[in-house]
Symmetry: C2
């Protein structure tokens, strides 16, 4: 049971931006910092932008900013938005052709379990991911801490 890297990267982008505060960050910078594919990250960024999580600024000296306060970004919401396929088993997905589906109780049970999973994430926000360790995170991501 895995989430995709797509979702993982979305989380990392948001963490990076949260730590940066009001300073713009570029995709290139974030990709470098985490050592991941710049191109893949770009798609994640576009998605986050379309969904209203971040603001993108084109052109020279462009970059990215959070559009909402970290306290207002729910992890549950994010996972629902970025993890495109949450159908845990075949019977929960499109094109299901498991023959016993009409009589089998797997579906409601796994749905309940998935809801419990997401409910936990709903209780946390991006702010909870940073906690009191923002300076340490900044160091790890090699962000030059901006003078306030």
């Amino acid at each position: 049971m895995h989430l995709t890297r797509y979702t993982d990267y979305a989380l990392r982008v948001l963490i990076f931006l949260a730590v940066k505060g009001d300073e713009r960050a570029t995709i290139h910078e974030i990709a470098e910092s985490f050592g991941v594919s710049r191109n893949h990250l770009m798609k994640v960024v576009q998605d986050l932008s379309h969904r209203g999580y971040i603001t993108t600024i084109r052109g020279k000296h462009g970059g990215l900013l959070l559009s909402r306060a970290p306290e207002e970004i729910s992890l549950g919401g994010l996972v629902r938005d970025t993890e495109h396929e949450l159908g845990l088993v075949e019977c929960l997905r499109d094109g299901n052709d498991c023959i016993i589906t009409p009589a089998c109780r797997l579906k409601p049970i796994f749905n309940e379990a998935l809801e419990a999973f997401l409910a936990v994430l709903d209780r946390y926000t991006l702010a909870d991911m940073l906690g009191p360790r923002q300076p340490q995170l900044a160091r790890l991501m090699q962000i030059a801490i901006s003078p306030a």
Copy 2:
């Protein structure tokens, strides 16, 4: 977020055997009934056998039987046994090299969510998957209902 078909097939094998009751079922028969790979199913079956879920009988007129009552087979336990990789994101897996892991709170949060997921499954058993619909399941799986 998907479980593997491996886990899915394990569930189906157990359901099949539960409906069959004390009659033996062959791997071939189960694979045919669900229209899935006989070879893959065989590996699932071996695993289930090693873990004590089912008893296998070799030789002519051999086959498979449940080793425990359906009420005693927990779904949570089964998923923990058959879903080999439960590390949802990179930082929960071996070989993690996400640079912010030391300061990031993703790990405990996703662990909590995973525990909530499994806790729901822990509340159900194989018997709950059948419910009162055993005859309907038997029909769907094309099991000739054995006279009691």
